[in-house]
Symmetry: C2
Subunit: 239 residues, 2 copies
């Protein structure tokens, strides 16, 4: 039973192997590459990465530390199965931190950046219209994090990333689900940009908070949480 680790390459070639492993796993996690509940063993990841077990071990421990992975008492780490409560907790935190990031970014963002972000929104709409959910999700990340980066708050950025990391596995095999989201839940990015152009950071923040809350409500209903611990409907079994 070999797993297909289609972990995207990171550009940095001269970084420590451990750091590369960490980033690749991280990226794979937000993209929902791993199935929730999947066990990630040190030696297996190491083999998939083509290194000795050491870098894999460190990377997995780091991920477990930021709760992007669950750790069994035995030390084995696995992709978390988000419970409904955990999903709502992540959402509640996002609804506080991400608007904060917007407020901080509001006073620093320049018109040029806003133009670039408007282009990303257009690309997302196009992806949605073209029925390409994974591209749609990617553009969504690109837009929001493009904004968050402008907040000039590295710790806040790291914490938001950690939240997305935790939420990532939810989209495993269920990336399609964003396509069904109601128009009033998405499509608020334009409103955020408009508010920022007016210099109304508070309004932009509120706009985002509303978006997060609506998306949370939608996903809470759309995702299948099995019993107390679980997951979206997989489209197919893993090979």
């Amino acid at each position: 039973m070999t797993i297909t680790l289609s972990i995207p390459d990171t550009d940095a070639e001269n970084l420590p192997l451990e750091e590369q492993a960490y980033r690749r796993l991280r990226q794979a996690l937000v993209e929902g590459v791993f199935a929730p509940g999947e066990k990630l063993s040190i030696r297996r990841i190491a083999e998939a990465l083509g290194t000795s077990p050491m870098p894999a071990r460190t990377a997995l421990r780091r991920l477990a530390t930021e709760q992007a992975l669950d750790a069994l008492p035995s030390g084995t780490v696995l992709v978390p199965r988000l419970t409904r409560a955990a999903f709502q907790e992540v959402s509640a935190i996002r609804a506080e931190l991400e608007p904060l990031a917007i407020r901080l970014a509001a006073s620093r963002v320049e018109a040029g950046t806003l133009d670039a972000l408007a282009a990303v929104v257009a690309e997302q709409d196009a992806a949605r219209a073209a029925g390409r959910p994974e591209l749609c999700l990617q553009k969504d990340r690109e837009f929001l994090f493009g904004l968050y980066r402008r907040a000039g708050a590295p710790m806040l950025l790291g914490m938001i990333e950690a939240l997305w990391l935790r939420r990532g596995p939810l989209f495993w095999g269920a990336r399609w689900i964003v396509m069904g989201s109601p128009p009033e839940a998405a499509h608020r990015h334009g409103a955020i940009l408009a508010a920022l152009r007016r210099g109304a950071g508070e309004e932009a923040a509120l706009e985002l908070k509303t978006e997060i809350e609506r998306m949370t409500a939608f996903l809470s209903g759309a995702l299948q949480f099995q019993g107390d611990a679980a997951i979206p409907r997989p489209t197919r079994a893993r090979g």
Copy 2:
């Protein structure tokens, strides 16, 4: 130059060495045992802990991952020197997350817990009156985290802990500083408890937010930030 690592012992005896190392370092960090800017080398920490470098290495990497420690490009980790901007960033995040924890706790906390917490507040007041700043800080933590734990939100709790971890080194050699805090900045714990007894979670949250903001304003003035990167006034040099 040997450092005196008065790292407090953790009860758990049968935990992995790495976990023990992690917890001890973490505890030392929130308590402000380490001087900001102090370099923490793997081998030195390992020696102080009485283990091989391996557990120390993992623990330090984990701490660096949650930004409780800074990592130089060379890989060396050191206790962060909080800039004024970083301090205010931590405070801004706290002002969002900790009130959220209070709101969540409000609907779950029982009268018995509130009574126990009232006792802690009394102990803190006594410590303040007795001129024991470190005990005062300890009771402060005990009160707030006792409340946060009742929120039933493990991720949120972990993130708040991470924030305190980052703020810890600020109090190195400056624990006395809490003694000078103005009455209107502290002493709000009683008001928080009162609001919770009334079932007014929102009020309690607002009360805490105000406390954090006032304390931040006070500390921003009271702490000496050297240039762009730095610290409180140390009371004495390290031996």
